[in-house]
Assembly symmetry: C2
Homo-oligomer: 511 residues x 2
């Protein structure tokens, strides 16, 4: 038995990695196994490892507690038995652990710090040129987003015809020089010309994605990993169950120890008729079995929702079903599913030809506020035509829209919520009203949003006893105007512009 003591120290919710030399005689990804058992004072976890190429096998572990840990490595990958021990230090200042569901409809980091998701989508940002990836990370660093959705497999679709920087498997892709904006749909699925070994992963592809996950983690951004998707010309969406399961296990073994990982089983699962409900449920059961950290899990629709009431689904991950209404339905979704409602696709700010990618910054921001004040969370995306077909939505790069600045303002507002999130309030029919989500009682914190309506004033009455602090918020111009304290029935003058909100806080409770 070889005793490891490197790296000896790791912070709580950090990645502790064990690297062991092993056998390569047969096919390392399928014919050898590696497992680890990690034991601390408060937990014992059994972890599957993975082959990382060059005769190296690895185990990754995320400790949930501080203190001394020991581990033992076993499996057919080696005749040698490995073990070791290490110390888990307290989490660093910006490390709050993985994000969890909290208070039924909201999220919080494992250390209890609130997490108000404000996500964006860049489907394959991590498979672009180094320069573009660097730019994306710089944009994210400056921007308001604390979650990003992206795919592990490369993407084939309109504006996505180029080769990715790497492929997940050993082999050879079809010749993409035949593709045009007019004919690309004919090559969806598994057209001739692809030669892949679905039992031999290209470890560099996964190593690179790990670096990206870690880089996002450094920026405080959750990596909402889209594990499967239908936008494919390489056959990765058309593998058989054995290869699918091998892929799922490999992905979990490699990525699960990163605290900022969320699992999105699929993007637009209902556009993959080759996968049945039984398949999705099987992937979900692999996830439940193999991810000991219980990262957040969901699945994204095109037209029809997956059944979000399934026990393995931690939160709704919704694409709007209607051109006109979606954020306005958050309350209905909350009641139906009893889980956090994340609307990760409600049309993107942009000007491309597709209706899902050409709404204004005003309209996207409006949808975010509608969702927020109903106790849900909307998602951003950007699709402006660009000379090199570099669209944030898929490739990352720079943001050109008007909404991100406003979403930063919304995030600031959400951060001021005295609790884990907002809940829809029984307001008037013509205002979207939010209070603080809580099991009992009245929070004394109210947010009224007027959307595209433009009242010149509104009258309020809570009680005749308390004083209320009133602020008028211009969600588009990003201003908060202090109107002092009011009591009884009081009138709040408004500018008669769209996108206004009023925040009212009971004196003594808040502000």
């Amino acid at each position: 038995m070889t005793d490891f003591s490197y790296p000896a120290r790791v912070e709580r919710w950090g990645v502790f990695e064990v690297s062991c030399p092993g056998l390569t005689g047969k096919t390392p990804f399928t014919d050898y196994t590696i497992q680890g058992v990690f034991t601390g004072k408060n937990e014992t976890l059994r972890i599957d490892g993975f082959y990382d190429g060059n005769g190296t096998y690895k185990l990754r572990f995320m400790p949930s507690f501080t203190g001394d840990y020991a581990f033992e490595v076993s499996g057919s990958f080696s005749d040698t038995a490995y073990s070791g021990h290490f110390r888990v230090e307290p989490a660093g200042r910006d490390n709050h652990g993985p994000v969890r569901v909290a208070n039924t409809f909201h999220f919080a980091y494992e250390d209890g710090a609130p997490y108000y998701p404000l996500g964006t989508t860049c489907y394959v940002w991590e498979l672009q040129s180094d320069e573009l990836q660097k730019q994306t990370l710089e944009t994210l660093k400056k921007g308001p987003f604390n979650k990003i959705r992206f795919c592990i497999f490369p993407k084939h679709y309109d504006y996505n015809l180029k080769e990715p920087r790497s492929y997940p498997y050993s082999g050879k892709p079809m010749d993409s020089s035949v593709l045009t904006k007019e004919n690309f749909l004919r090559y969806m699925g598994n057209p001739p010309g692809n030669e892949w070994d679905f039992k031999c992963f290209n470890v560099e592809h996964f190593q690179h994605i790990e670096k990206c996950i870690a880089a996002l983690g450094d920026l405080g951004i959750e990596a909402d990993l889209i594990v499967m998707h239908p936008y494919d010309r390489w056959g990765f969406s058309m593998m058989d169950a054995e290869c699918d399961d091998l892929y799922w296990k490999y992905v979990i073994a490699r990525f699960a120890a990163y605290r900022n990982v969320w699992w999105s089983l699929d993007n637009e699962y209902d556009l993959m008729p080759q996968k049945k409900t039984g398949d999705w449920e099987r992937y979900a059961s692999i996830l439940r079995e193999k991810d000991p950290y219980k990262h957040l899990r969901s699945i994204h629709n095109c037209r029809s929702f997956y059944d979000y009431s399934r026990p393995w689904i931690t939160h709704c991950c919704i694409q709007r079903q209607d051109l006109y209404k979606c954020a306005e339905l958050v309350q209905e979704y909350r009641e139906r599913y009893g889980k956090p409602v994340v609307l990760d696709e409600i049309a993107y700010e942009g000007n491309i030809q597709h209706g899902w990618g050409n709404i204004s910054g005003q309209e996207l921001t409006r949808r975010f506020w509608e969702a927020a004040c109903r106790g849900g969370y909307a998602g951003h995306g950007e699709t402006f035509t660009h000379p090199g077909d570099i669209l944030w939505w898929s490739h990352g790069g720079e943001l050109h829209g008007e909404s991100p600045a406003r979403l930063a303002f919304l995030r600031r507002m959400l951060n001021e919520t005295p609790g884990l999130g907002l809940a829809p309030m029984r307001g008037n029919w013509d205002e979207t009203a939010a209070a603080v989500e809580q099991p009992f009682g009245d929070s004394g914190y109210y947010l009224f949003y007027y959307s595209f309506m433009r009242p010149a004033f509104r009258d309020f009455h809570f009680d005749n006893k308390n004083e209320y602090h009133v602020e008028v918020i211009d969600t588009w111009n990003m201003t908060i105007e202090d109107r002092g304290y009011c009591k009884g029935t009081f009138r709040v003058a408004l500018p008669g512009r769209e996108y206004m909100a009023v925040r009212i806080r009971r004196k003594g409770n808040h502000g």
Copy 2:
């Protein structure tokens, strides 16, 4: 028998009025009757007359054909029998007769000329000061509207606390000096202080409304009369069945001969719980019996629709049920009811505190286009705060909004439709597409509307054979840009702004 031969001549669809002296010994409105039988070559109509005060009884008749007519007057109003004859001349240039339902979902004048309703609402414009009424008529003359909704009874509601110029009955109103913006709701219905004789009409009230109907007719504007409504502090909404029926018969006898009259049984019928379905159906049966001209008939909702499939209802007269969606549902309503869909309340352009009265000109115009391209018709209203509480929506006066100019542009577009109206077309999911309504075949006339979406271009393909004339329409900036002829698959560049449309016409068919 006294033989009348005045006024001897009337134009087709004009008002021929017979005036006879009669008895006043008992209560003239209830205790005496007057009927007329009018006979021309193509029609014989039996008409109820009415008491017009000062010992005068009247009969009004609208001839639907040219040529010689004779009439005979009977009833208990007089011991003398009256009769006469007159000649009906062809209709004047701007007189197309009453508006009828045509081609299932649309309207046309009785002479076959198309009528594309573009209505507005000024609930009690005709009960304001002479000066304000004059201003309203001037505004209407300059504006795009060809229909106006207004009430016969005065209106009591927010912004409507003043006394009307006249009352429909003899008697005395409650003291309105006690009313404030805060307490007015307490006086809804029939509060103490009102003293009315519901069997004695104030003829001057009705005489004045007739003048207003005629003045609208001179401007080519249909008078969509709201016969009952709940916004009442005088008890006019709370009368018993006998008085209601007396009112209905009086209204029909006085107004039905004006060709531009439409009947709206009620405004927000569902806010009048004192009236049951049986009452509305009874009023409708009075209308069917007593209005020989079969003017258009409908009834307007607040929350729940009346059953528009009832045979007496000629068209849907809809207030939106949802804050966000209504014009977008026109196709659904067409399929459900198989009648013209008029959305006469879809929120008004303005800035008052109420959500039904503070949307932007852009949003109101957008709703008009959505409705039009789905084969329906939206309605306008305006509710800007004003120093004297003069809001177009209720009082008329001047228009201050940005939508009317755009609605004039829409009316111009509709006037260019080669047929009686537009029909929803099976377009793409992200465009509202219209063709010409017709029973068979393909019109070769297409209108694509992009609403709040902002595509930088769209691709089209109809066939490989025909040439198509393409125009890019900016519905907000009111421009039509000629893009010449295209064939096969073609791309239309667009400016990436909201509210754009594309009109495409097959060469040979149109344009």
